[in-house]
């Protein structure tokens, strides 16, 4: 299984993922062409990272009206979405259907823009300093999040001791 997984509460908002992604896919730096995003809001700004969840039963593919489906899960690597550029009718139904708002639109190619986990070796993960981006299966994410959660609970117990 090679999915891109996000432990959002670890993210520092550095946008390294938004730089690495278009570099490997488009050979240029341009967050407009990234398949992973960090949303910023408020002052001082808070931030939230977002990308395709590699759904096991992807709503975007369900919603796609073409035959064959022009957006489909890449089962060779067990994660990420692929686009059939010749078949896609550029309707944007996949964008509407994604429950995580994790599909964008390629400004030059005029085509859905979605994470393909770099065919199994996602570049963004290599530059995620706080390790908010993880690669693996859903159990990997569950284990990582459980570790973070446990750490917080243990800290709370420690605080009680120190009082």
């Amino acid at each position: 299984m090679t999915m891109l997984l996000i432990a959002a509460e670890r993210c520092t908002g550095c946008r390294m993922c938004e730089l690495a992604c278009p570099l490997v896919h488009e050979k240029a730096f341009n967050p407009e062409k990234s398949r992973i995003w960090i949303e910023f809001q408020g002052m001082p700004e808070l931030y939230y990272p977002n990308a395709c969840r590699s759904c096991g039963k992807p709503p975007c593919a369900d919603a796609c009206p073409t035959t064959p489906k022009s957006i489909y899960r890449d089962e060779r690597v067990g994660g990420g979405m692929k686009i059939l550029e010749d078949v896609c009718i550029r309707c944007g139904r996949c964008i509407e259907a994604c429950p995580f708002a994790a599909i964008d639109w390629h400004p030059a190619k005029n085509m859905p823009l979605v994470c393909d986990v770099c065919d199994g070796d996602p570049e963004c993960v290599k530059y995620c300093s706080p390790q908010a981006l993880i690669v693996g299966g859903k159990t990997t994410l569950a284990a990582e999040r459980r570790r973070d959660f446990g750490r917080v609970q243990i800290e709370k117990v420690k605080e009680k001791f120190s009082k």
Binding site: L19, L23, L46
Partner: protein
């Protein structure tokens, strides 16, 4: 068309007088001779700002500039600089901030943006790629920097736009007002007042263009190698991500070089209350990184209880903790967080603001300022409530705040009565939170530096960590030259100072060279890169000399040349004038400057291709 990687290839000019914009191409020669950031700022200002003009007049110019790496994923490429003739020092001044503003400017297609003239009414400028519009700013004039950004983002329906702006302090021409983008500050030297004098409230930048490098594979090889070393380094991989720069607070105190109560001491007895560890355990809610930064030294803090409850702040970082904390005798991190947030919103430099307040506190305690003169504020060291009130008055130039908004040196000149000793400034700039008395090389580097009281020309780091013995004089002229050279290149690339341990603390290295070459494809050699640094440094020096700067102005703050550190591990250390003069002789030799005047020699200028400067300085 020439092609070097990294550059956007254009310079945008904003004529505020006529609300007109124009673009000029960035020439290949300019990129190769001045690299970017610091270099571009110095080149444009020397060429276009006449000597003797009022920094707050329409003839002054203000430059936003990025280097070749902005917009790429070279670690810490979020940084960019602003350049102007400082209303505080009267000299060339550069200040830098992180965040995402510089990269966005590059995506919009500009390496630099030059602000000129003076608008009749408050204005802001919208730059969306090639589309530049001047707009009326009357609805945001008077608003804080945070409100300004939120309003403009909403008005223009552009949540991703990067906005640089000034706050009420810049509008009121506070001489140490700064420029704010996001919650980052290009803090020092009063650049915010220069924008205020131009009635330039804000610039909103949004870019959708590519930034390219010549060889993607090679780029990834070099950058991933550096990235991995940053992560493996105990400073950049562990200490800074955990504590941020506040981790230095206890280190400096242990060495007896933590400015305390307006530098009357350099040991703060309550340091553990304002330490990085205390901040992490009590206030930090989240780590934050500037664009492309794996180090995430920024800490988001939230105050839960007490008089400052409800304060949500990006920071404070070390300088702010020193400035409002130990140097004002305040041991409350909660108040420091509040003062930091207020400074950002008002748009003032926290270092200078803290320093004028500590100056006023010492004057008050020594009876030079009466309670009547302080508008009834009981300005004893450690009075946190009074500090907060005074900060607001300074940002708005109310009452005694109007006098202090002129900066410590000018305020002391007006107050007189011996208060000049308590204005701890170098070339008119309030001293940052590193001790010139306790570090000899850094001390010399500041005295000879372009900016004066800044910790960003010469660097204290190598002396603080013991890589160079801070107590001896030997090798210190070389230390000053080496650290100044390294910072000049870092500021021209522009990478953040947090990476200095990776690039090299005391000289320009192959690390600088490899990154510059892999981004630009210039194929420079190390001596060529050193020449670029020397060229920029001498250009800044020429700017200052043209303004009348001479050898006698390369001095330290009076207190540091007169009063030894009174207690603690660095007890007895100071910089007697004769010692400084001796070091300067050697320093001028190394720099190729005339020992009598302090002006770069004709030969030095000509060697670096600064022929116009040679003509101007040797008429």
């Amino acid at each position: 068309m020439w092609t070097y990687g990294g550059y956007a290839g254009r310079i945008l000019r904003l004529d505020m007088t006529n609300w007109k914009s124009s673009t000029t191409p960035l020439t290949k020669e300019m990129a190769r001779l001045f690299l970017g950031g610091n270099g571009f700022g110095a080149k444009i200002l020397y060429d276009e700002v006449k000597p003797g003009i009022d920094p707050l007049g329409p003839e002054n110019k203000y430059v936003f500039a990025a280097g070749p790496i902005q917009g790429t994923m070279v670690p810490t490429a979020g940084r960019s600089g602003v350049f102007t003739k400082s209303p505080l020092t009267g000299y060339f001044f550069d200040a830098y901030g992180g965040g995402s503003f510089g990269p966005e400017m590059k995506y919009a297609g500009y390496d630099a943006i030059v602000v000129e003239g003076r608008s009749e009414k408050p204005a802001y400028v919208k730059v969306f790629d090639d589309n530049v519009e001047f707009k009326d700013a009357s609805h945001i004039w008077g608003k804080s920097t945070y409100e300004t950004q939120e309003i403009l983002r909403k008005d223009l329906a552009e949540p991703k736009a990067q906005i640089a702006c000034i706050g009420p302090a810049g509008e009121r021409l506070v001489r140490f007002a700064c420029t704010i983008w996001g919650a980052r500050a290009a803090g020092r030297g009063g650049n915010g007042a220069v924008l205020g004098s131009k009635r330039f409230k804000a610039i909103v930048v949004r870019g959708t263009k590519d930034v390219e490098v010549p060889d993607v594979e090679e780029f990834l090889r070099v950058v991933s190698d550096q990235y991995n070393r940053i992560k493996a380094n105990p400073g950049t991989g562990k200490a800074l991500p955990t504590l941020g720069t506040p981790g230095v607070t206890t280190t400096n105190n242990q060495l007896g070089i933590l400015g305390t109560r307006n530098w009357q001491s350099e040991v703060f007895e309550e340091v553990e209350k304002i330490s990085g560890e205390a901040m992490r355990s009590r206030l930090v809610v989240r780590d934050k990184g500037c664009m492309a930064c794996p180090i995430y030294c920024t800490k988001l803090t939230y105050v839960k209880t007490g008089p400052y409850a409800g304060t949500f702040d990006e920071g404070p970082e070390y300088e702010t903790i020193f400035a409002f904390g130990s140097n004002c005798g305040v041991a409350s991190l909660e108040m420091i967080a509040r003062a930091d947030r207020m400074s950002d919103e008002l748009g003032v430099d926290t270092i200078s603001a803290g320093a004028v307040i500590s100056f006023a506190m010492e004057c008050y305690e020594k009876g030079i300022l009466s309670k009547q003169e302080t508008d009834g504020l009981d300005l004893r060291f450690g009075n946190d409530a009074a500090l907060i009130q005074l900060l607001e008055k300074i940002g708005r130039r109310e009452g005694i705040g109007d006098l202090l908004a002129e900066g410590a040196a000018r305020a002391a000149a007006k107050i007189g009565k011996g208060s000049e000793l308590y204005a701890v400034t170098i070339k008119g700039l309030e001293n940052a939170g590193h001790s010139p008395r306790g570090m000899k090389g850094y001390c010399l580097g500041m005295a000879t530096g372009t900016r004066g009281g800044s910790h960003q020309d010469a660097r204290p780091t190598a002396e603080r960590i013991g890589k160079s013995d801070r107590k001896i004089l030997e090798g210190k002229p070389e230390y000053a030259v080496g650290t100044q050279s390294a910072t000049t290149i870092q500021d021209s690339m522009c990478v953040c100072r947090m990476t200095e341990g990776i690039y090299g603390l005391m000289e320009i290295t192959n690390e600088h060279l490899n990154i510059v070459n892999v981004v630009t494809g210039m194929n420079l050699t190390l001596p060529e890169l050193v020449d670029i640094s020397d060229r920029i440094w001498n250009l800044e020096r020429s700017f200052n000399c043209r303004e009348g700067h001479r050898r006698e102005h390369d001095v330290q703050a009076k207190r540091f040349m007169k009063e030894p550190i009174p207690e603690g591990p660095s007890k007895g250390m100071y910089m007697p004038p004769e010692e400084l003069e001796m070091l300067k002789d050697k320093y001028y030799d190394l720099r190729g400057w005339d020992k009598k005047t302090g002006i770069p020699t004709k030969e030095t200028l000509q060697r670096l291709g600064l022929t116009q400067q040679a003509k101007d300085l040797y008429k």
